[in-house]
């Protein structure tokens, strides 16, 4: 070999191809095509995560089901029980805020009107959305980060090598815990907010808690129960599902973990608001305006 000879070509020792990071330029149509393909891949992977988790429920194995139940309970403890104090504070302040706003806009509002406002604003809108935001911010980020770190440290691969199904052992418990926690926390949030409205309402506006209670009872319909459950289950699913999906998207680098956790939060919030909006539109289209 002379000094002019190039170095012998050697296979890269990197576990990825650095050249693939630099994409060849595409024209306008090419960019649209690439974007569309990436979107289809992303969407199919996202729905694949949910599909695998849901179908994993039917996988045989009594012992596996017992193990997964234990994991689910610990997730409920973290996502639901440990969030109670935060939900209490926020529920209290939201209930109080509603009364202050009502007293400023409709001075001397009676129990009937306050009841309608509490149902329309707190029970139908803020309770589901704020609870979902709390769970997404508190547990969703934790789930995405935890699963991302598990991917980086090879724990997910280790589980697979032990014959443990990731969708069943990892995703399903977090999904179930998220749904149950959001529904339970919504009920609790509504209770705290209504209590705060009742106490402050009497002090600021005049109607007694009994008048407020009967106002709420008159404003509530059976459709509200359906809306409440649909919002709770849907928002809980969105939070648990997206958090797990983005956590598991991490490949091998620790720097990916915060990126995916951040992406998870953004998408959880976006998904939650879109879902909440869609259900609200359908609800009022079916039931009619909240204040008549």
């Amino acid at each position: 070999m002379t000094s002019q000879d190039p170095l012998p070509a050697r296979r890269s020792t990197l576990p990825y191809n650095p050249r693939s990071e630099y994409r060849r330029r595409a024209g306008f149509l090419g960019s649209i095509g690439r974007g569309a393909i990436a979107w289809v891949y992303g969407a199919s992977a996202l729905f694949g995560t949910l599909g695998l988790a849901l179908t994993s429920f039917a996988t045989p194995g009594r012992a596996a089901a017992r193990t997964v139940r234990a994991v689910t309970l610990s997730q409920i403890l973290f996502t639901g029980v440990q969030a109670v104090s935060l939900v209490s504070v926020i529920g209290l302040l939201i209930g109080a805020t509603i009364v202050i706003q009502t007293s400023l806009m409709v001075p001397g509002a009676d129990g009937d009107l306050l009841g309608k406002i509490v149902v329309a604003v707190v029970l139908r809108e803020l309770s589901p959305l704020i609870t979902a935001i709390i769970v997404a911010g508190r547990s969703g980020t934790a789930i995405a980060t935890e699963l991302g770190n598990m991917k980086v440290s090879g724990e997910i691969l280790a589980l697979t090598s032990l014959g443990i199904d990731t969708p069943r052992f990892i995703v399903w418990p977090r999904l179930v815990a998220s749904v149950l926690s959001v529904v339970a926390l919504m009920v609790y949030f509504s209770f705290v907010a209504v209590m705060a409205s009742a106490v402050l309402g009497q002090a600021v506006l005049g109607p007694s808690p009994a008048e407020l209670r009967s106002g709420i009872a008159r404003a509530l319909t059976l459709h509200d129960l359906v809306l409440f459950v649909a919002k709770g289950v849907g928002l809980g699913t969105i939070v648990g599902w997206i958090a797990c999906h983005y956590g598991l998207l991490v490949k091998s680098s620790p720097t990916e973990v915060p990126k995916q956790a951040s992406a998870a939060v953004v998408r959880m919030l976006l998904g939650a608001v879109m879902y909440d909006f869609a259900l609200t539109v359908v609800f009022y289209w079916l039931v009619g305006p909240p204040l008549r």
């Binding site: 996988t59 194995g61 697979t160 032990l162």
Partner: protein
């Protein structure tokens, strides 16, 4: 002889970079394969492919005639394919104790293995003790264990399932002499066990010599027998 591992025209790539192309290899049940090669040639990737932890870009991998599915590994377990995998970095669950790491899979597959809770606990403790993990370390998290102990816990976890396929990725790296010899003795036992198909990747001439299995060298995407 019953077929253990079968690589059928397996190719694998990271992005545009092909690591293997059209790799075909078979190993009978109870056979041994020792893979050597420079750092970065894809030994670990090959081991992941063989164990069915990573999906091949093209081609098929069969373990005892079953194609592993990375999203449903329990199916393989139910079909009698029990894999034990010792990762280079341990791969222990960080939020479970040493004992918890060993009992997890035993608990998950307790109905298949026919184990009661007390049998699971006893088997895990026996396996850890056999690998000379101190009882005081049983309830420690992996982060609080030394590299050598972590490797032994990882081995105990893999062996507790009484695997019929044992995959070891550089099993003697970063170990002290005493632990190394413990691992060698154990691998010699598994090498001679007709019920266990053993696959080892290593860069250690000492391990190759101790195992006495003619190694295969992985280079430029090809697996070649070293004579």
């Amino acid at each position: 002889m019953k077929l253990g591992l079968e690589l059928d025209h397996v190719s694998f790539r990271y992005g545009d970079l092909w690591v293997f192309r059209e790799l075909t290899h078979t190993l009978p049940m109870g056979g041994n394969l020792v893979v050597i090669g420079e750092n970065g040639v894809g030994k670990s990737t090959l081991l992941y492919l063989c164990a069915g932890l990573t999906q091949a870009s093209t081609g098929n991998v069969y373990l005892s005639g079953h194609a592993p599915n990375p999203t449903r590994p329990s199916e393989l377990f139910r079909n009698g394919v029990r894999r034990g995998f010792v990762f280079y970095a341990g791969g222990l669950l960080s939020n479970a104790t040493a004992l918890g790491n060993v009992t997890l899979a035993l608990r998950y597959h307790a109905d298949v293995l026919g184990l009661s809770e007390s049998q699971i606990d006893r088997r895990a403790r026996d396996q850890l003790t056999e690998l000379r993990v101190a009882q005081t370390d049983f309830h420690a998290l992996p982060a609080h264990l030394s590299v050598g102990v972590r490797r032994r816990v990882s081995l105990a976890r893999a062996l507790a399932l009484t695997p019929n396929f044992l995959f070891l990725d550089d099993p003697d790296s970063n170990l002290d002499t005493q632990t190394k010899h413990l691992v060698y003795e154990l691998l010699e036992q598994k090498r001679d066990d007709p019920a266990v198909t053993l696959l080892v990747t290593t860069t250690s001439p000492e391990l190759v010599e101790r195992l006495g299995v003619p190694p295969h060298e992985l280079a430029h995407g090809y697996l070649m027998a070293r004579i």
